[in-house]
Amino acid sequence: MNKGSILTGFFCLLVLGLSAAGAEPKLLGDESDGSLSPPPHLIPLYAENEDGDKGEQVTPDMEFPMPFSTRWSCSDCHNYNLVKKGWHFNTMDSNIPAGRPGEPWVYYDPGLGLQIPLSYRGWTGTFRPEQIGLSEFKFTKIFGRHFPGGGPGEVDATDGDDIGRQLVSGKLEINCLACHNAHPGQDMGGQSGYAVQVSRENFRWAAAASCEFASVTGSAAQMQMMYDPFMPDPAEKNAPMVTYRKEVFNENNEVLLDIVRQVPNERCYYCHSDLYHGPEEKTEKWIQDEDIHLTAGLKCVDCHRNGVDHNIIRGYDNEADISDNPLAATSTCEGCHLPQDDQEPVAGRLGAPVPKHPGIPTIHFEKLTCTACHSGPWPGEQAVLTKTSRANRLGTPNANKAAEGLPHILSPVFASQGESGAGYKRELMATENGKIAPYKVLWPSYWGILEQENVRPIELSIVEKVIGGVFAAIELAPTGDWPQVTKEMIAEAIKALGTSVTGKAVYIGGGKLYSLDDSGQLLEQDNHPAAKPYLWPLAHNVRPAAQSLGVRYCTDCHATDAPFFFGDIKIDSPVIAEQDSFKRMIKFQDISPTYAWAFAASFVFRPWLKIIAIGSCVVMAGVLLLYALKALACIVKVLTGENQ
């Protein structure tokens, strides 16, 4: 054997060894034995110790029990590190493809004129939290209320102050119960539930607080950085403490958790609810209908499926190009509803009817997504203010019920995939196909520094200090709406910022870039790329076929005043003078407004066209019939010898 062969063999073994080391081992609960019967989760609960490892078992006789850790309690049977790779938890992993743009986290402060979309995913139009000075720890404290732990919640703090705070608060582990606890007592947004605990920096206690058999008091945020949560002092006022209901423990100190594999819809709803403030104010739940799929008896997770790796299907076209989930290709609208010729038939899964689409020219399927006609609220003259769980804290004690409360998200906006705002073209992503789809839209408002064509947002600490001073006299709206900001105030604020930052200070708001010229006068620039609105698709609630666009007639969309093309979208701006500005829906589509209008107008003549065409056919058919009969008469004559 020569030296080369030995080396090659060695490298092969090394690669195999490394691959094996990288692969996550499957534990008891990670692989099904084929039984469809759910296993009972009667398990011991373990707390985390000072070193972040598995601590002692939680028992009812502990004087100062620690909160159980989902990581250490569940990881006997489920590979926690594998679960961490799931879509809900992998936001910090830069190797994960961002996929189709989704809902951002929105940081807002009406008093500072701020409404800025944030995401760790790198979606175009969003900013990374650290760009505005939000560390992972601070981000978790603000937004952890609506994510099921993991991600930024588990990142080791690096900022001096955060390190100290994290020693007290702990990390926000993945809260398995947030989704998988079917017990009605699971408390995510209640008075002392998960969201409240996160806002109190009780990260370590949040999962326990959310379950039905434990309650948490106190606040880690109010503790000194030197406070040791592993040696709780009962004399310490507001020290975070957990109390377990003793009767839930059996003789082995195990607890029966109502864990289900198929996540109940209500768990999804906590983070994935929408509220549309339409002109009719149909905001009460009992007035609204839910998604037709759920009405038909499906669960969210029937379509949004995942394995133990929690790589859940988001459910858009071409997701299979970037997803490892083997069902990604078939878990789309078309996957269930349309027959496929080239593979094992999957259409009709879950009772999905094959749509007939009578009278709909097939060109519509090339130009529109299914959701364009079937999803979201029926479009009105204006896109309506829309609240989402994550943006507007729905389901938490702090939720602002006023329609005008920030952040201002508008929907439905019908836009071409590949557009990122009115007139702001961008290249199509691999997951997009240029079809028109319904979107939610957010007009960003923030203070920044102009760097060539880009605007870099200014850190919150500077904004709070400088703008807070300039806007100190501003009267905040009790509804949580924008306060009355004038252009003079914007000019003054930019001027003040200019002395605090390096570079040209600007303000982005209402689709405009505000800056000062050399003489100190306020300049306004429309359609600046940095001022473009952020759009993300909406897919639910899906309406039934009988309530889809076009079901009545073509003029549902092809009319000169049809909202689909000619609906208005308010350009949301804190600046008073700009608050009555609108953009037409067509501006978000890759279509000429003149053409769309002319095409819509032509539908007035459509009945005439039909009558003329059919009338002409009747005449021609009559002529053909007449001469055919004449020809037949000739043949008859010849054959009967009458023409002799």
Binding site: P361, K610, I614, G641
Partner: protein, 213 residues
């Protein structure tokens, strides 16, 4: 598929017409090309000697010809050249000229059918076959036709093809046909339009050739 078939069909048809020009040349055209060109151009005018009915017939024919040109260009250009479906302003122009064309075809069907009817002299072989079968002698007088057989065949073909051509697209506008039928109707429209266009080209060529002669 449709694109390839269409291109081949157009090439064959236009090639056939070219070949016909070469194999059966119009001698006058080669001798006095300018004169013939002027004559060709004058075909677009309406002679004063024509009766009102003939004026209407020619006028309708010319409008139909214009509509056909517009419909063919707007219909085939995006498919054959751009390799995409007709859309945008082209479809609006297409849909605007289509009903005018349909009316013209209906009028022409009424006004031209008489002179385009087939006679026994069009089918001498058939006549001979009938005589042999029936042992009868033909008593039909030889009718002098204004148009050649090819013209008459193409005329009736045009009228016949117009029905599926028009109905396929009009029926698709009614909310009775689902996606499968929509696709089928669209394909009927496209393929009928192809055959229709080729027939109309041949018909026009034969008509012009006869007039120029």
């Amino acid at each position: 598929m449709f694109r390839a078939i269409s291109i081949i069909a157009f090439v064959i048809t236009l090639g056939g017409i070219g070949l016909n020009c070469i194999l059966r040349p119009c001698k006058e055209c080669w001798r006095h090309p300018l004169k013939k060109l002027v004559q060709l151009f004058t075909l677009l005018f309406i002679e004063q000697k024509l009766s009102p009915a003939e004026v209407l017939r020619k006028l309708v024919y010319l409008i139909a010809l214009l509509c056909f040109a517009v419909l063919a260009i707007t219909g085939f250009y995006p498919t054959l050249v751009l390799d995409e479906h007709i859309s945008g302003y082209l479809i609006m122009i297409h849909a605007t000229f289509a009903p005018i064309f349909a009316i013209c075809l209906a009028i022409l069907a009424v006004m031209w059918s008489g002179r385009c009817r087939f006679t026994g002299s069009d089918w001498p072989w058939f006549q001979r076959l009938v005589q042999r079968v029936t042992l009868a002698k033909s008593t039909e007088q030889q009718v002098k036709n204004e148009s050649c057989l090819g013209q008459r065949i193409t005329f009736w073909l045009i009228i016949f093809l117009a029905l599926p051509l028009i109905l396929s697209i009009v029926l698709s506008m009614f909310p009775y046909f689902g996606t499968y039928w929509q696709e089928l109707l669209l394909n009927i429209h496209r393929y009928t339009a192809l055959v229709f266009a080729l027939t109309a080209i041949v018909h026009t060529y034969l008509l012009v050739r006869m007039k120029v002669k």
